[in-house]
């Protein structure tokens, strides 16, 4: 069992104990639903484990009583575990920020708003808005995409590519929409690429039902990580960052090779040389390319292409 699975199991047992002591003889179903047990077997395992734990001596009078009696869960002889544990700062913030973030979207409802208000009130009795969290504004097509993902509707989208600024029309099977780093994304199986792709929802110009359907995944997917993970064909560049460009090392997943305080040298991985080229143009004299042929070529090409437009429009 890995360390994190051990931690999860212990966290659940320690949360279950005070609750079950305060609410004696709960039904198996209620315990499973409340505490997210996936099977009766999983709950039985935890109860069996508790049956072997208790106070030193570890005789019949020292061990906890924990078992399933038909439809009921019996937990006894564990009064020392009757007080609920505090929420760690991380846990409290996780709960509150999740509630706040969703409450501000079209997925929020009155029950959630009340829950957030009660939590805030319990944590900060004297002030009302100490913590705030908001998701990015919802783009126009979000609702359509969400429904299509739920219903298994194949869509035809007109998409303005983030990396090339070119427009394509493609048939996609939407899987899930999620917000990350200030934007909404759509994870979909793209029939044009024949693979899963991540689309920025704000770059989708138009959406139409294609008339075709697909089978949505049986279990909801977890939000995908939008951070870029370098693949085998990634392009690398070495950059020196001046004081005004140090944020790059925090914003992008880079490797810091050297940091003198004045200048920071990083190794930057990207899927497309244009990512590095735009970054270098954006940083101007705050950054310098040390190594990376593809990025150098793309930067020069892009620089001249943009400058050419300024020459022409000046004339």
């Amino acid at each position: 069992m890995t360390a994190s699975r051990t931690r999860q199991r212990l966290a659940r047992i320690l949360a279950l104990l005070p609750w079950a002591l305060a609410n004696p003889y709960p039904t198996v179903t209620e315990v499973m639903e409340r505490f997210g047990y996936e099977s009766r077997r999983q709950l039985a395992d935890d109860l069996n484990l508790l049956f072997c734990c208790g106070l030193p001596g570890y005789g019949p009078g020292d061990l906890m009583v924990a078992y399933m009696d038909g439809d009921e869960v019996v937990l006894d002889m564990a009064d020392y575990f009757s007080r609920p544990l505090r929420l760690t700062p991380h846990e409290a913030l996780g709960l509150l920020s999740a509630g706040l973030a969703v409450a501000g979207t079209s997925q929020g409802n009155e029950a959630l708003a009340r829950a957030v208000e009660k939590l805030t009130g319990a944590l900060f009795p004297e002030a009302s808005t100490v913590i705030a969290a908001e998701l990015p504004p919802e783009p126009a097509h979000l609702g359509t995409l969400r429904r299509a993902a739920r219903d298994g509707t194949v869509l035809t989208i007109t998409y303005l590519s983030l990396s090339t600024n070119r427009t394509t029309v493609r048939a996609i099977e939407p899987l899930m929409v999620h917000a990350s780093m200030g934007s909404w994304y759509l994870l979909a199986h793209c029939r044009l690429a024949g693979d899963r792709r991540l689309f920025r929802v704000d770059r989708i110009r138009s959406v139409e039902a294609s008339g075709d359907v697909f089978e949505p995944p049986a279990r909801p997917l977890a939000p995908t990580n939008v951070d870029y993970t370098p693949s085998a064909d990634a392009i690398y560049a070495r950059l020196a960052l001046g004081p005004g460009a140090r944020w790059v090392a925090e914003y992008y997943p880079v490797e810091v090779l050297e940091d003198t305080g004045e200048e920071m040298v990083i190794r930057f991985a990207m899927s497309d040389a244009r990512v590095g080229a735009r970054l270098l143009l954006r940083l101007g004299d705050q950054a310098r390319l040390i190594e990376g042929r593809e990025v150098r070529e793309e930067t020069e090409r892009l620089r001249e292409a943009i400058l050419a437009r300024y020459e022409v429009s000046r004339a």
Binding site: L14, E33, C53, G94, V102, L123, L160, T167, H178, Y310
Partner: protein, 307 residues
């Protein structure tokens, strides 16, 4: 392989049931799971177990076993127990459970354990494939929340400068956590800091070190960010046909003022900072700044800087 969980539960049972501090030796000789270990092996195991409990929010503390302070033992202090009771109904828990299910932090579920500690919740059947990630808030996220919650002074490095702060509140926006407050003993304006740019953040001093101003709201602070307060200037940007629609959506206050000869659209966009240049660079050669001259000159200067 349930021995770790069993040992930790036995350890905790022994500690919370005891009315006096218990020494490491007593633990070693009494609690099931620590028998037959060398000195070194015991200490390693015990340290690891304390760390595992700490991650769940259970901090063991040391206290003298008697008035002479010869021997020290471990206790589970009062502060480990919950004092707040939000009193959520089942319906409210379920709503919260759905939010927790949707929202992650740097790829990890962020509120699940907190919800369990409040008594768990039934997750309503959800067929809504929606999610959100609030991004990694750095290892400082729990610490800054604690500072805000307990009103404790913090110290940190920001852009190379050491600062102390009475942090009043936190705000998450567009993928980043911010915190805001004033420097102690300075009646200055409330300043906002981005959490992932704060280095070596630490709590200093005791709780209740400062009052939060009456009527303080983390929302007000954010809407009063300096670049949102200034009166906007206006830029004219010529955008190619394929991207003009996106720029218009991106800037709800943009206005179409004309068409270019090449079939592009000329948009008038209110702006308050140079970050408009960053957006234009991301349009590659699909856009050009026509006006004002100083913004256009800055663009050309920046492009030529790396030549």
């Amino acid at each position: 392989m349930s021995t770790v969980v069993e040992r930790l539960i036995n350890l905790l049972a022994y500690l919370v049931d005891s009315t006096r501090p218990v020494t490491a030796d007593q633990i070693r000789n009494t609690v099931a799971g620590y028998e037959n270990l060398s000195d070194q092996a015991f200490h390693r195991k015990f340290e690891r177990d304390k760390a595992s409990l700490r991650e769940l929010g259970i901090e063991l503390e040391q206290e003298a076993t008697d008035a002479w302070e010869v021997e020290w033992g471990y206790v589970v202090p009062e502060s480990n127990y919950r004092t707040i009771e939000p009193g959520l109904t089942d319906e409210e828990r379920t709503a919260l459970a759905l939010a927790v299910h949707m929202v992650r932090s740097g790829g990890w579920p962020s509120g699940a354990n907190g919800l369990l500690k409040l008594g768990g919740a039934r997750l309503a059947d959800t067929d809504t494939p929606v999610g959100a990630d609030l991004g990694l808030g750095s290892e400082h996220l729990g610490l800054i929340f604690q500072a805000v919650l307990e009103r404790r002074l913090i110290r940190f490095l920001y852009r190379g400068r050491s600062r102390s702060l009475c942090a009043y509140g936190m705000h998450h926006r567009r993928g980043h956590w911010y915190f805001a407050g004033v420097e102690p003993e300075q009646a200055g304006a409330i300043r906002t800091y981005r959490l992932d740019r704060a280095e070596r953040l630490e709590l200093v001093g005791e709780p209740d070190a400062f009052p939060r101003p009456e009527g303080y709201s983390a929302r007000d602070i954010l809407s009063a960010l300096p670049w949102e307060q200034q009166a906007p200037k206006r830029a004219l940007i010529e955008c190619d046909a394929g991207i003009a629609w996106w720029v218009e959506n991106r800037f709800p206050d943009a206005r179409t003022v004309g068409q270019s000869d090449a079939g592009g659209t000329i948009l008038e966009i209110p702006y308050t900072s140079d970050s408009l240049l960053d957006m234009v660079i991301h349009l590659d050669d699909g856009a050009v700044i026509l006006d004002p001259p100083e913004l256009r000159a800055e663009m050309v200067r920046r492009l030529e800087a790396g030549r």
